[in-house]
């Protein structure tokens, strides 16, 4: 029902593929990216605030290993085991970082390498070909189904609620941990929960966006917005706009250039980043 409404709406657009009853995969992909982009834009702002870009990259690798393990264990949908694995992986990194006081980039680098190596090792064990996993590396949003779109819609609502309730405390903790704790903010749980949220998002959307570029889609809109925003509200509005704009235009462009949509989206986001970098003036 909702999909019918959406198809009718898209058919109003002046594109050769926007005709009734045809090219449904394009219309599905467009709706999916409209729902995904705000999630990536929003959560990305905090990843850049907290200088976690490398961390979220590692989460993608953890998710990949999870999918391989899930496939081995013979589940129909390796997704659930991948989600479980990447949550454990992200919490593991947080705990090790918290306990050892080792520098975070070392810990993340170690975890990330182990995850990728273990994933490839398990995937190719017994002389199997790696090729079947290529779709996770490159991603294809054009193959998304209406039921998967419904999942994204639910995730969007959950993330919005989470952001309304917890954003202030997360930002406070990122500004000064001791100060935040002196005001009763439980920084450790808050941060662990945020890492887990990113882990779930990256795992779920990896097969659509592609492991190789997913982190860029998370980080670039926020990084671009940071060049011109003066406060958190502008930061969010600009990051979400850039994310939406490059998501939608990326899918449309990829139709004509016949390229992978994930990579096309990221290239457009990168172009906006360069543009805002030039726009950056001395800000008050």
């Amino acid at each position: 029902m909702a999909m019918e409404l959406w198809y009718n709406l898209v058919d109003l657009l002046p594109f050769e593929w926007a005709v009734p009853g045809k090219m449904l995969f394009m219309k599905n992909a467009l709706l999916a990216v409209l729902l995904l982009a705000p999630i990536f834009g929003m959560l990305g702002t905090m990843i850049v605030n907290r200088q976690m870009a490398f961390f979220s990259d590692a989460l993608g690798h953890g998710a990949f290993t999870g999918i391989v393990i899930g496939g081995l264990a013979g589940f129909m949908q390796p997704l659930w085991s991948a989600i479980a694995f990447s949550i454990v992986f992200s919490v593991g990194i947080s705990v090790v970082h918290h306990k050892t006081r080792m520098s975070s980039d070392t810990i993340i680098g170690v975890f990330s390498s182990i995850a990728v190596a273990a994933g490839i090792f398990l995937a190719t064990a017994g002389g199997k070909s790696f090729a079947r996993l290529n779709s996770y590396l490159v991603g294809s949003i054009l193959s998304i189904t209406p039921s998967e779109i419904a999942v994204i819609a639910i995730i969007l609502v959950v993330v919005l609620l989470y952001w309304l309730l917890f954003f202030n405390r997360l930002l406070f903790a990122s500004i000064n941990q001791v100060l935040a704790r002196s005001r009763g903010v439980h920084t450790f749980w808050l941060e662990t929960m945020f890492s887990a949220a990113i882990a779930v998002l990256v795992t779920v959307s990896m097969s659509w966006i592609g492991l190789l570029v997913i982190n860029s889609f998370l980080v670039l809109p926020a990084a671009a917005a940071r060049n011109i925003a003066r406060n958190q509200r502008q930061y969010h509005m600009i990051a979400i706009s850039i994310s939406l704009l490059s998501g939608v235009s990326g899918i449309i462009v990829s139709y004509y250039t016949e390229t992978a949509s994930g990579a096309t989206i990221v290239l457009i986001t990168a172009a906006t980043f360069l543009a805002t970098l030039f726009m950056r003036r001395r800000r008050a």
Binding site: M42, S182, A225, R226, R230, Y235
Partner: protein, 254 residues
Amino acid sequence: MNHEGTDMKCVCGEQSCGLCCTRIENLGVRIGNETILKDINLHVHCGEFTAIIGPNGAGKSTLLKAILGEVRHTGHLKFMRSIGIRKERPVIGYVPQNLNLDPTSPTSVLDLYAVCRSRSPVWFHIPDSVKQKARECLSRAKADHLLYKRLGALSGGELQRVLLSLALDPVPELLLLDEPVSGIDQNGLEMFYNLLSDIRKNYDLSIIMVSHDLDLVVRHADRLVLLNGTVLANGTPQEVMESESFKKVFMGIW
């Protein structure tokens, strides 16, 4: 130095005062195998401005963090009423040395106030009532004109005033300040110490400040504590400066 007695009574200027003095008894802090602080005994009285001085690595910031409950410590930390010990922790205002923020961060002074004092999500909407309160709060430290500035664009002195105004909202019983080692110009420092003197007169609170400017501290503090792993000297600025320990630690510097 007449505070060594075990007498539990403290003299309080006003009847309404809930916190009369903070007694630190035999406090010690070890991190790993390293002893950072040991045998710290101090009394901080209501309405007094106590400054902690000492060389780099003396454990000054660690002492503040121990009082905040941020690092594990041995010994006792007692918050006293005019009669007896009180159970609940006092309201503590804390002014950190700096913020963990890259200078390009799109976080305004108003954002900082709102995440600290309000539940309305700053990325979505900050109500006018919160803006009004933020302005009032900042005006206590003569910083209301900085409301819409980015934190990364503030000078060292401006940032310190913003953080002070935040620490005073709600008005704490104990105000802890960790002064930055550098980055504040002389005018800014002078202004900040004058502000602290005003605050001490207008509010009923104890101030403990880690300080790096001996010249200003001597003029403004009621009490100096010379710290280097333990308390080397403790008393009026005059007393501490005339002590042997002070001469040893600061010889050639001051």
